[in-house]
Symmetry: C2
Amino acid sequence: MINEKMLKLGTKRSIIREIFEYGKQRKAEIGEENVFDFTLGNPSIPAPKEINEAVIKNLERKDAHGYTSAVGDNKFREAIANDLNKRFNTNFKFNNFFITYGAASALCSTLRALLNKNEEVITFAPFFTEYTVFTEAQGGKLVVVPADKKSFQINFNAFVKKINKKTKAVIINSPNNPSGVVYSEETIIKLTNILKDKEKEFGHEIYLISDEPYREIAYGVTVPFVTKYYHNAIVCYSYSKSLSLPGERIGYVLVPDEVTDSKNVYAAVAGAARALGHVCAPSLMQFAIADCANLTSDLKAYEENRNLIYKGLKKLGYKCVKPDGAFYLFVKALEKDAYEFYKKALKYDILVVPSDDFGVKGYVRIAYCVSKETIINSLPKFELLMKEYKK
Amino acid sequence: MINEKMLKLGTKRSIIREIFEYGKQRKAEIGEENVFDFTLGNPSIPAPKEINEAVIKNLERKDAHGYTSAVGDNKFREAIANDLNKRFNTNFKFNNFFITYGAASALCSTLRALLNKNEEVITFAPFFTEYTVFTEAQGGKLVVVPADKKSFQINFNAFVKKINKKTKAVIINSPNNPSGVVYSEETIIKLTNILKDKEKEFGHEIYLISDEPYREIAYGVTVPFVTKYYHNAIVCYSYSKSLSLPGERIGYVLVPDEVTDSKNVYAAVAGAARALGHVCAPSLMQFAIADCANLTSDLKAYEENRNLIYKGLKKLGYKCVKPDGAFYLFVKALEKDAYEFYKKALKYDILVVPSDDFGVKGYVRIAYCVSKETIINSLPKFELLMKEYKK
């Protein structure tokens, strides 16, 4: 009688949450330091102190808690434009930005704005599991291109077979959750060239939606800024990772002027946000981040963690593509069934996420946004796990 | 090519926003004190000082900016349950509450959770204009029962003609935006008795969705707590008005145990929130409000305003039902066409909202959440306006 789809979405626990809950219980039993919990992509580095200072400062505004405009605070939007223009040599103005409740709301508003019934959205495995939920709830169908397991860049042969007249948008996520891989400039050029050709062939727009909450978390590689490569690129961003503010739900949709009918696309994003019940993003936090738009948390610790765990696991004989960004490592399971491997790892109190829900079989995701000690102390356990498979 | 409905929602400016923008411009021209702007329902009383203190205190939590659980922080949910139980002699537990991005997100999540295609939602004129947007975007159809213009309680004769097998839910909003009227206990009993009968007649649940952001703003009358009168009542709340925090986007959906299959309804609300891109409500503000759940802003000023403007306008010969709550007055226009009346009022720099979008013709809404001076100084202007019509 109630909506069955929503009931299913609300009752089907995500495997990540399930493992997380198990981890909580296990920590209570044997002590936090003895559980090696690599489950959640929750920033372990605190927000920069300037954020809290800015919160306190902005509390004194008369409008600290008032509605901002539905599209977001103008000064905040200006600060974002200035920051990006400086770093990427772009030419954005404040009114290219629509402020959202983080990346999830940015993606949902964008998809709802673009999609008509039965249109398709393509993404590339491995991919963030919620893309399926967001796309279907906004009336579309998510089409998954299988992974290129050698590099976890894009499997272009498979992609050109999937793209068709119904394709309305393509979602990319680089640096990638769960692989940690950064799409190279070569990949972005190849992808956008195909999109340009297909736009001509099909005679309609194909939007490239770049979901990039991990943009600032990259180690010694450049993350190509997609709007410079493709006219119909729309960026969905969140401050959850770069400023370690996942709970504050602030992000944006960037609709560059180069997008076909960009004013209408922007207006449709605003209309979609309204239809989804997003009135305006939280005001005090908009004001605070406006003062810190050019900052990030001290992200170096993630790179140290990456080096530690990547080298450590490689040395033990584990196989994985070197991740250049985000805070994830995508490791080949030591048996075919990732879920079975995950369960064996549990015996050593190692908590990792089997890859099936990310659209690839036979891997596990390790979220290394944890303390250095957790990584160091986990390595002997990973060694025991490896030994069990070699028996 | 993009979604036409969303484009329309994003481009069609609401009349309220239009008037508001005009007001801003006019204030720049002739000085703020010379424009009598009764357009927006934006709290004029500041948040209690305890809120800012709680924000600063909670900034010191290690998890101040971290994700809370998707359903909301447990301590916050507990504080809400305790506060309601104390005031209304109810028996709620923390897990009856799902924390949302304010009332808009609460309503959208609830509607999406309940509605299947082509089902109907009934509401009573005058009504908050966004109900149409929210209901249609979640797949339903909004059916409006015409107003009882004598009292702005419920027009029951019209209601029983509209309710039918397709009716899945009824939305009420008391204290009401835009009329300021509080539904009496008699009204609530009559309404819920009809709903109980119709549930039996049709053999399925009919949910009563009570949108009550103005619950705490009532002057000497009791606002009946609906869950005590009806088993399938779901409450949508926001701290926007009672704590003067409209920009912070914190509210909740309350699904009492008495609701049929309440666990499933709650799960469907959670699933719907997920589908709409609501990850968790802003964390720092959840923690801060948890410490202030039993407080309100100093709401007395609204009552003073109500008395001033109600008595003042009555004395001048204006007609309106005495509002016992919220901060709105619904005044009969001095000519048939409310829009024409609104335009005449503009000549005296009085800014009010014509009633057409609220589902009633021939009235204007006066939002008296303004300074006392604005009201006092507006009365001679209202007198001139009245004189113009008496000429």
